[in-house]
Symmetry: C2
């Protein structure tokens, strides 16, 4: 691309460094910012600066937070007896969006991937065990993706938790609601037949 | 979306205000920035601030520039006798990328669109006329999109320039190179037959 302005080129390069933004999108964003009010651009820039400066990891669950303890962990209405173990903060957001869970979380920061050099020590598994030792919750809900690495991680953590008097559960796996059976993948369908659950008729 | 952090929510909102970026993309960008080095984020922010603070419109051609006169207008190797009239700076970049033009530009800032309240006075047509009066170039190349509004604008400007002793040309319109004739639209194909040009065989 031929830029008439060095400043514009630098700004386009800055945006291009972000994931999923190519040269053309970056140019569109830069031209948009040039046309905005200075105060709006300053607000945009300030929100990024503040984010980077002040965001931290919750000392209890490792969720991203404005304070040392995140909003979920410090909420007195949340059930501290249930800890839901997830990979990333995106999973926390996804589960929170369902509105179906009122316990607290523990964010691992990923799953065990030996090929990428991510072993149990790279994940916050130790802090989960310490947390269980300290607070003795009643249940740990494993909400980790049902991939090979995810299943391995679920298995590894469950084994570590065996010594504690604690209920371990995993989120239900099976065919998706609203999906047609003929389009479900074989593995999911096969396992959901094996793991069939009693059907309750409401009288 | 359920955010555990106000700072994150603000940053996501800031990105969402940009064109073509939805909530999910914004979240991805924000999570990416959180994981970047502080110095990299500062550089990102700084490049946007500097852009907004220092970018200006070239006093001659209205191109975006770091200085009062843009790089193209101040380049002694560019032919000042040819002025290419375009809608936006994107068009300048597109033409520059072809490497086929060595004259200078004049950026209108759009085309005449009465419905949107954009008349000739909202475009930099007066400054084009002043420029021609002052520098008496030899040729004005109209490189405006061949849409209804674009054609109207080309016609309007050409009429304004009638009083000057100046050659007015438009970029060639016709079927695209590399395109198959059967897929060309009727209007383009029809006009390209009417405006057929002599074929030169190199001996």
């Amino acid at each position: 691309m031929n830029f008439s302005s060095k400043l514009m080129e630098q700004a386009v390069d800055a945006f291009t460094s972000l994931p999923g933004i190519g040269k053309k999108s970056a140019l569109r964003l830069v031209l948009h910012l040039i046309n905005q009010e200075t105060s709006d651009v300053e607000q945009f820039v300030e929100s990024i600066k503040q984010l980077k400066k002040n965001i931290r990891s919750c000392k209890v669950c490792h969720n991203l937070s404005d304070h040392d303890i995140c909003g979920i962990c410090s909420d007195i209405h949340r059930n501290k007896d249930e800890i839901c173990v997830v990979e990333t903060i995106r999973d926390v957001m996804a589960i929170e969006n369902t509105g179906q869970y009122r316990g607290v979380y523990h964010i691992l920061g990923g799953v065990i991937r030996p090929i990428e050099g991510i072993g149990p020590d790279q994940l916050s598994i130790d802090s989960l065990i310490q947390r269980i030792q300290k607070n003795s919750p009643k249940e740990v809900v494993m909400a980790i993706s049902p991939t090979i690495e995810g299943e391995t991680t679920t298995f590894y953590i469950s084994k570590q938790l065996k010594e504690f008097d604690i209920k371990i559960s995993t989120i239900a796996r099976g065919v998706s609601f609203g999906g047609e059976l003929q389009y479900a993948d074989e593995l999911t369908l096969g396992r959901s037949i094996i793991a069939r659950t009693p059907y309750h008729i409401s009288k």
